[in-house]
Subunit: 130 residues, 2 copies
Protein backbone atom coordinates (compact mmCIF):
# COMPACT_ATOMS: atom_id res chain seq x y z
CA UNK A 1 0.00 0.00 0.00
CA UNK A 2 3.01 2.19 -0.38
CA UNK A 3 3.47 4.68 -3.11
CA UNK A 4 6.56 4.37 -5.13
CA UNK A 5 8.91 7.27 -4.90
CA UNK A 6 11.54 8.28 -7.33
CA UNK A 7 14.83 9.83 -6.42
CA UNK A 8 13.07 12.82 -4.95
CA UNK A 9 15.59 12.73 -2.16
CA UNK A 10 18.12 14.43 -4.37
CA UNK A 11 16.24 17.63 -4.62
CA UNK A 12 15.75 18.78 -1.15
CA UNK A 13 14.07 22.09 -1.32
CA UNK A 14 11.15 23.31 -3.26
CA UNK A 15 12.14 24.93 -6.43
CA UNK A 16 14.93 22.56 -7.35
CA UNK A 17 12.65 20.02 -8.85
CA UNK A 18 12.36 20.53 -12.49
CA UNK A 19 12.13 24.11 -13.35
CA UNK A 20 10.43 25.75 -16.15
CA UNK A 21 10.80 29.36 -17.03
CA UNK A 22 7.17 30.06 -16.73
CA UNK A 23 6.27 31.29 -13.31
CA UNK A 24 2.56 31.59 -13.22
CA UNK A 25 2.30 30.99 -9.55
CA UNK A 26 3.91 33.65 -7.43
CA UNK A 27 5.44 32.90 -4.07
CA UNK A 28 2.50 34.17 -2.16
CA UNK A 29 0.10 31.80 -3.87
CA UNK A 30 2.59 28.99 -3.67
CA UNK A 31 2.85 29.45 0.06
CA UNK A 32 -0.88 29.38 0.37
CA UNK A 33 -1.20 26.22 -1.68
CA UNK A 34 1.45 24.48 0.37
CA UNK A 35 -0.45 25.47 3.45
CA UNK A 36 -3.77 24.23 2.11
CA UNK A 37 -2.54 20.81 1.06
CA UNK A 38 -2.88 18.52 4.06
CA UNK A 39 0.26 17.01 5.51
CA UNK A 40 1.67 13.79 4.14
CA UNK A 41 0.38 11.52 6.86
CA UNK A 42 -3.17 12.72 6.40
CA UNK A 43 -2.95 12.50 2.65
CA UNK A 44 -1.81 8.91 2.84
CA UNK A 45 -4.67 8.05 5.15
CA UNK A 46 -7.09 9.80 2.87
CA UNK A 47 -5.82 8.02 -0.22
CA UNK A 48 -5.87 4.70 1.61
CA UNK A 49 -9.43 5.38 2.63
CA UNK A 50 -10.60 6.07 -0.90
CA UNK A 51 -8.62 3.14 -2.22
CA UNK A 52 -11.06 0.90 -0.37
CA UNK A 53 -13.86 2.10 -2.63
CA UNK A 54 -11.70 1.67 -5.68
CA UNK A 55 -12.42 -2.00 -6.15
CA UNK A 56 -15.70 -3.49 -7.36
CA UNK A 57 -15.59 -6.46 -5.03
CA UNK A 58 -15.25 -4.26 -1.98
CA UNK A 59 -17.92 -1.89 -3.17
CA UNK A 60 -20.27 -4.77 -3.76
CA UNK A 61 -19.59 -6.05 -0.27
CA UNK A 62 -20.36 -2.63 1.14
CA UNK A 63 -23.59 -2.36 -0.82
CA UNK A 64 -24.62 -5.79 0.40
CA UNK A 65 -23.88 -4.91 4.01
CA UNK A 66 -25.86 -1.74 3.55
CA UNK A 67 -28.94 -3.95 3.47
CA UNK A 68 -28.18 -6.13 6.41
CA UNK A 69 -25.41 -7.68 8.43
CA UNK A 70 -24.18 -10.88 6.89
CA UNK A 71 -21.83 -13.79 7.40
CA UNK A 72 -18.90 -14.54 5.13
CA UNK A 73 -20.48 -17.41 3.30
CA UNK A 74 -23.71 -15.51 2.67
CA UNK A 75 -21.64 -12.81 1.04
CA UNK A 76 -19.69 -15.35 -0.96
CA UNK A 77 -22.92 -16.85 -2.21
CA UNK A 78 -24.61 -13.62 -3.04
CA UNK A 79 -21.62 -12.09 -4.75
CA UNK A 80 -20.65 -15.35 -6.41
CA UNK A 81 -17.11 -15.35 -5.15
CA UNK A 82 -15.01 -17.76 -3.14
CA UNK A 83 -15.09 -17.64 0.63
CA UNK A 84 -11.38 -16.90 0.62
CA UNK A 85 -11.61 -13.90 -1.65
CA UNK A 86 -14.42 -12.44 0.43
CA UNK A 87 -12.60 -13.12 3.65
CA UNK A 88 -9.47 -11.40 2.45
CA UNK A 89 -11.42 -8.34 1.44
CA UNK A 90 -13.35 -8.28 4.69
CA UNK A 91 -10.11 -8.29 6.58
CA UNK A 92 -9.00 -5.32 4.58
CA UNK A 93 -12.28 -3.55 5.16
CA UNK A 94 -12.00 -4.22 8.84
CA UNK A 95 -8.46 -2.90 9.00
CA UNK A 96 -9.74 0.26 7.44
CA UNK A 97 -12.48 0.34 10.06
CA UNK A 98 -15.27 0.24 7.51
CA UNK A 99 -16.82 -2.93 8.83
CA UNK A 100 -17.05 -4.58 12.19
CA UNK A 101 -17.85 -8.17 13.04
CA UNK A 102 -19.36 -10.25 15.78
CA UNK A 103 -19.05 -13.94 16.32
CA UNK A 104 -22.01 -16.22 16.87
CA UNK A 105 -20.92 -19.80 17.20
CA UNK A 106 -19.04 -20.83 14.09
CA UNK A 107 -20.41 -17.93 12.17
CA UNK A 108 -18.98 -14.43 11.95
CA UNK A 109 -21.34 -11.65 11.04
CA UNK A 110 -20.05 -8.54 9.37
CA UNK A 111 -21.74 -5.18 9.28
CA UNK A 112 -20.93 -1.62 8.37
CA UNK A 113 -19.22 0.21 11.17
CA UNK A 114 -20.45 3.60 10.15
CA UNK A 115 -23.40 5.37 8.59
CA UNK A 116 -20.97 7.63 6.76
CA UNK A 117 -20.27 4.92 4.23
CA UNK A 118 -23.65 5.19 2.65
CA UNK A 119 -23.12 8.91 2.21
CA UNK A 120 -19.78 8.42 0.52
CA UNK A 121 -21.16 5.82 -1.84
CA UNK A 122 -24.11 7.91 -2.89
CA UNK A 123 -21.91 10.97 -3.27
CA UNK A 124 -19.81 8.97 -5.70
CA UNK A 125 -22.85 7.63 -7.50
CA UNK A 126 -24.22 11.08 -7.84
CA UNK A 127 -21.04 12.20 -9.51
CA UNK A 128 -20.83 9.45 -12.10
CA UNK A 129 -24.43 9.87 -13.12
CA UNK A 130 -24.25 12.80 -15.45
Amino acid sequence: MMEQKGDAGLREEIGEAEQCECIHVHDELKERILREIPEDGKLEDLAAFFKVFGDTTRVRILYALLCSEMCVCDLAQILQMTQSAISHQLRFLKQMALVKNRREGKTVFYSLSDGHISTILSQGMEHIEE
Copy 2:
Protein backbone atom coordinates in the same frame (compact mmCIF):
# COMPACT_ATOMS: atom_id res chain seq x y z
CA MET B 1 -19.22 -33.32 -2.70
CA MET B 2 -22.90 -33.92 -2.17
CA GLU B 3 -25.49 -31.38 -1.28
CA GLN B 4 -28.04 -32.38 1.24
CA LYS B 5 -31.60 -31.33 0.75
CA GLY B 6 -32.95 -28.37 2.58
CA ASP B 7 -33.24 -24.92 1.14
CA ALA B 8 -30.34 -25.74 -1.11
CA GLY B 9 -32.83 -26.10 -3.91
CA LEU B 10 -33.97 -22.59 -3.43
CA ARG B 11 -30.68 -21.07 -4.37
CA GLU B 12 -30.22 -22.70 -7.70
CA GLU B 13 -30.32 -19.70 -9.89
CA ILE B 14 -27.45 -18.11 -8.03
CA GLY B 15 -25.10 -20.84 -9.05
CA GLU B 16 -22.97 -23.28 -7.15
CA ALA B 17 -20.22 -20.95 -6.10
CA GLU B 18 -19.15 -22.31 -2.81
CA GLN B 19 -21.92 -23.22 -0.54
CA CYS B 20 -22.00 -23.48 3.16
CA GLU B 21 -24.69 -25.12 5.18
CA CYS B 22 -25.46 -22.04 7.18
CA ILE B 23 -28.32 -20.13 5.70
CA HIS B 24 -28.61 -16.91 7.54
CA VAL B 25 -29.98 -14.97 4.67
CA HIS B 26 -33.35 -16.11 3.43
CA ASP B 27 -34.35 -15.83 -0.16
CA GLU B 28 -36.47 -12.79 0.34
CA LEU B 29 -33.58 -10.83 1.79
CA LYS B 30 -31.22 -12.21 -0.80
CA GLU B 31 -33.49 -10.99 -3.56
CA ARG B 32 -33.61 -7.59 -2.00
CA ILE B 33 -29.85 -7.40 -1.67
CA LEU B 34 -29.34 -8.41 -5.26
CA ARG B 35 -31.77 -5.71 -6.24
CA GLU B 36 -30.07 -3.06 -4.13
CA ILE B 37 -26.57 -3.70 -5.42
CA PRO B 38 -26.10 -1.54 -8.51
CA GLU B 39 -25.48 -3.25 -11.80
CA ASP B 40 -21.96 -4.20 -12.85
CA GLY B 41 -21.41 -1.33 -15.24
CA LYS B 42 -22.27 1.23 -12.63
CA LEU B 43 -20.19 -0.47 -9.98
CA GLU B 44 -17.18 -0.43 -12.23
CA ASP B 45 -17.63 3.24 -12.93
CA LEU B 46 -18.03 3.93 -9.25
CA ALA B 47 -14.92 1.98 -8.31
CA ALA B 48 -12.99 3.68 -11.09
CA PHE B 49 -14.15 7.03 -9.81
CA PHE B 50 -12.98 6.37 -6.27
CA LYS B 51 -9.75 4.88 -7.50
CA VAL B 52 -8.80 8.35 -8.63
CA PHE B 53 -8.76 9.51 -5.03
CA GLY B 54 -6.85 6.45 -3.96
CA ASP B 55 -3.43 7.84 -4.79
CA THR B 56 -1.58 10.53 -2.86
CA THR B 57 -0.17 12.20 -5.93
CA ARG B 58 -3.58 12.65 -7.47
CA VAL B 59 -5.10 13.81 -4.23
CA ARG B 60 -2.32 16.35 -3.81
CA ILE B 61 -2.93 17.59 -7.33
CA LEU B 62 -6.61 17.97 -6.58
CA TYR B 63 -5.93 19.85 -3.35
CA ALA B 64 -3.57 22.16 -5.19
CA LEU B 65 -6.11 22.84 -7.92
CA LEU B 66 -8.66 23.52 -5.24
CA CYS B 67 -6.76 26.75 -4.58
CA SER B 68 -6.31 27.90 -8.10
CA GLU B 69 -5.93 26.79 -11.65
CA MET B 70 -2.36 25.90 -12.46
CA CYS B 71 -0.05 24.83 -15.25
CA VAL B 72 1.77 21.52 -15.33
CA CYS B 73 5.15 22.85 -14.35
CA ASP B 74 3.77 24.87 -11.46
CA LEU B 75 2.26 21.70 -10.14
CA ALA B 76 5.49 19.82 -10.67
CA GLN B 77 7.36 22.45 -8.73
CA ILE B 78 4.94 22.71 -5.89
CA LEU B 79 4.50 18.99 -5.47
CA GLN B 80 8.15 18.25 -6.09
CA MET B 81 7.59 15.77 -8.83
CA THR B 82 8.72 15.44 -12.41
CA GLN B 83 6.75 17.11 -15.15
CA SER B 84 6.18 13.71 -16.70
CA ALA B 85 4.69 12.15 -13.61
CA ILE B 86 2.34 15.09 -13.15
CA SER B 87 1.39 15.09 -16.79
CA HIS B 88 0.54 11.40 -16.72
CA GLN B 89 -1.67 11.87 -13.70
CA LEU B 90 -3.35 14.92 -15.16
CA ARG B 91 -4.20 12.94 -18.23
CA PHE B 92 -5.80 10.33 -16.01
CA LEU B 93 -7.69 12.97 -14.05
CA LYS B 94 -8.90 14.47 -17.26
CA GLN B 95 -10.06 11.14 -18.61
CA MET B 96 -12.07 10.75 -15.44
CA ALA B 97 -13.49 14.23 -16.02
CA LEU B 98 -12.20 15.58 -12.73
CA VAL B 99 -10.11 18.30 -14.28
CA LYS B 100 -10.34 20.37 -17.40
CA ASN B 101 -7.66 22.38 -19.15
CA ARG B 102 -7.24 25.40 -21.32
CA ARG B 103 -4.27 26.33 -23.42
CA GLU B 104 -2.62 29.72 -23.31
CA GLY B 105 0.35 29.82 -25.61
CA LYS B 106 2.80 27.16 -24.62
CA THR B 107 1.21 26.75 -21.29
CA VAL B 108 -1.70 24.50 -20.37
CA PHE B 109 -3.70 25.42 -17.33
CA TYR B 110 -5.56 22.79 -15.42
CA SER B 111 -8.45 23.33 -13.08
CA LEU B 112 -11.08 21.31 -11.32
CA SER B 113 -14.04 20.56 -13.51
CA ASP B 114 -16.48 20.29 -10.70
CA GLY B 115 -17.30 21.69 -7.30
CA HIS B 116 -18.31 18.23 -6.21
CA ILE B 117 -14.71 17.25 -5.78
CA SER B 118 -14.21 19.43 -2.77
CA THR B 119 -17.21 17.80 -1.13
CA ILE B 120 -15.89 14.32 -1.74
CA LEU B 121 -12.49 15.18 -0.37
CA SER B 122 -13.84 16.72 2.80
CA GLN B 123 -16.26 13.87 3.27
CA GLY B 124 -13.28 11.53 3.21
CA MET B 125 -11.26 13.74 5.51
CA GLU B 126 -14.12 13.87 7.93
CA HIS B 127 -14.18 10.12 8.07
CA ILE B 128 -10.53 9.54 8.75
CA GLU B 129 -10.45 12.12 11.50
CA GLU B 130 -11.80 10.17 14.40
